[in-house]
């Protein structure tokens, strides 16, 4: 469904953050990218979505090469991206936020129909339809972001740390929503810091280190893998992890 090959991405001045990454996500699948701060997780998603100044490699969507397409073309083609934290429009109402999600839809009847569909999925958005989005709680804002994305009926959704800043109960709810969307046939590619819960909700996972894929496996195997455990969840006291150079987990 979504496939990136040899993707290199970075910013001005030759700062390469993501270095030759191969990654894919298939329909019906939740794929999670984990890695420490600065590993290049967010830049990887931005690189796929053509939002960084420096990039090389290839990106294909549904078998078609889309590397050079602008973000709005990618979105129209079925690839959606939810950036990290606060991608709502704070001083637009919830209803206006949803309508902006369908900005590229020319067919107003279809837009209204789809808004009805996502409102059925997220009833809280109906209750607060005429309020400024800034007034929503963190969890509600995340639901609004996801709902807004669904208006373009994407085949692939990339989410950058959907659980960040949320209470544990809401984290479960967000991952449940991600699972549900995968079961509806979408490919879900997310970046997460909440490694345990994210992998538990995923089919496959990638471990990114210094801009390169270090490990790639089924999510349950990664969860059980000592290297993942040690590096990204902190060393377990008396655990089986070999006490290598970073027992505390580096910052």
């Amino acid at each position: 469904m979504l496939e990136a090959r040899g993707l290199t991405a970075g910013y001005g001045g030759g700062r390469i953050i993501v270095d030759g990454v191969d990654i894919d996500a298939r329909a019906g699948e939740v794929v999670t990218i984990i890695g420490q701060n600065g590993a290049g997780k967010s830049t990887l998603l931005k690189g796929i979505f053509n939002m960084v100044p420096v990039r090389r490699g290839s990106v294909s969507l549904d078998g078609a090469e889309v590397f050079d397409q602008r973000p709005d073309r990618l979105l129209a083609g079925g690839l959606a991206y939810i950036p990290q934290n606060h991608s709502i429009f704070p001083k637009l109402t919830v209803a206006e936020n949803l309508r902006m999600g369908g900005f590229l839809l020319r067919d107003q009847r279809l837009l209204v129909e789809r808004i009805g569909e996502v409102e059925a999925m997220f009833p809280i958005l109906v209750e607060r339809r005429d309020e400024y989005a800034a007034g929503l709680s963190g969890g509600e804002q995340r639901m609004l972001e996801i709902a807004r994305t669904l208006l373009m009926a994407p085949k692939v959704i990339m989410l950058d740390e959907p659980s960040i800043g949320l209470a544990p109960r809401l984290v479960d709810q967000v991952f449940q929503t991600v699972r549900t969307l995968a079961e509806q046939g979408k490919a879900m590619l997310m970046v997460e810091q909440n490694v345990k819960k994210a992998l538990a909700a995923s089919d496959r996972g990638y471990v990114l280190e210094l801009g390169q894929v270090k490990l790639h496996d089924r999510a349950d195997r990664l969860l059980a893998d000592d290297r993942t455990a040690q590096l990204y969840m902190g060393a377990r006291p008396g655990g089986t992890a070999p006490s290598a150079e970073a027992p505390e987990g580096r910052p």
């Binding site: 979505f49 973000p71 950036p83 606060h86 429009f89 001083k91 902006m100 900005f103 590229l104």
Partner: protein, 291 residues
């Protein structure tokens, strides 16, 4: 006293309407592009000159001259956005320098074309007097207030009721989010500059016949417009509208109590007071990530 107060309120509403046009244009451009365009005042002034040119040389219709001036300034705005500000995107310092440089270039360009002396534009609406009680105002006063009222209402409806207008507000609130929902930032930049410059032209074309048309006629409207958007809250559209109108009325009414020479001082004292008491402005919100 009541007579004098009424007189100053009407004068103030008229000038406030002009400030409103300047402030609304600046705040649209600032919100979407994060460019504080200091050249907005000279664009206002050019709007006055172009209107004068169309009226005296080509059209002999004030309405058509105004529309012509707005059209010409839209094209100039488009050229400035493409040629200057888009290239300096995300470079605040260079944008400030560029907009200050544009003031020099445009002001001297106007002097080169039309000379340094003030031009007069005689239209019937400045000769017709409208009596109100013992007072009398030019019809132009009410033409300005009415035209600005209609224009600002139209802009407001555009921003709140249409797809493109909502996208403009969305872009000014969160540029990254606008990009991920598929709003093309460049189109929004063009739209905001186009509207902003057309509003500046309208201001110059409306005020020109009442006073005179001269190379520095846009300087005070620029400063008052700037004060209006700071008082209203940077980026707030209702703030710019109410700030502009408020400044016009406050400075006019102040002349009843203190010497006219201090009129501008009153405005900037009010600006300082707002900054001290409510730094985010009357309608502003504290921006996340800023203290």
């Amino acid at each position: 006293m009541a007579q004098a107060l009424l007189e100053q309120i009407i004068n103030g509403t008229m000038m406030g309407s002009i400030y409103m046009l300047v402030a609304l244009g600046m705040v649209l451009i600032y919100g979407v592009m994060h460019v504080l365009n200091f050249a907005h005042g000279v664009l206002f002034m050019v709007g006055g000159y172009v209107c004068h040119f169309f009226f005296t040389q080509v059209l002999d219709s004030y309405l058509l001259a105004i529309l012509g001036s707005m059209a010409v300034l839209s094209v100039i705005g488009l050229a400035l956005e493409r040629g200057v500000f888009r290239r300096l995107r995300d470079n605040l310092r260079m944008q400030v320098i560029a907009s200050l440089g544009l003031i020099l270039v445009i002001q001297n360009g106007v002097i080169a074309i039309w000379g340094p002396n003030a031009l007069q534009m005689r239209i019937t609406t400045t000769d017709i007097r409208v009596p109100i009680g013992e007072l009398s105002f030019t019809l132009q006063h009410f033409l300005i207030i009415g035209t600005v009222g209609v224009t600002v209402t139209a802009i407001w409806l555009f921003l709140t009721r249409t797809r493109i207008g909502t996208a403009l507000r969305a872009t000014s609130q969160n540029a990254e989010a606008a990009q991920v929902v598929g709003i093309d930032a460049n189109r929004m930049y063009v739209a905001s500059f186009l509207i902003g410059c057309a509003l500046a032209a309208l201001g110059g074309a409306l005020l020109g016949p009442l006073f005179l048309i001269f190379p520095t006629m846009g300087d005070l409207p620029l400063l008052k417009g700037l004060a209006a958007i700071i008082i209203g809250g940077m980026g707030s559209i209702p703030g710019a509208i109410i700030g502009g109108l408020g400044i016009g009325i406050v400075e006019a009414v102040s002349t009843l109590y203190i010497p006219t020479d201090f009129r501008d001082t009153v405005v900037f004292a009010a600006l300082i007071a707002v900054l001290l008491l409510r730094p985010q402005g009357l309608f502003g919100v504290r921006v996340r990530g800023e203290a």
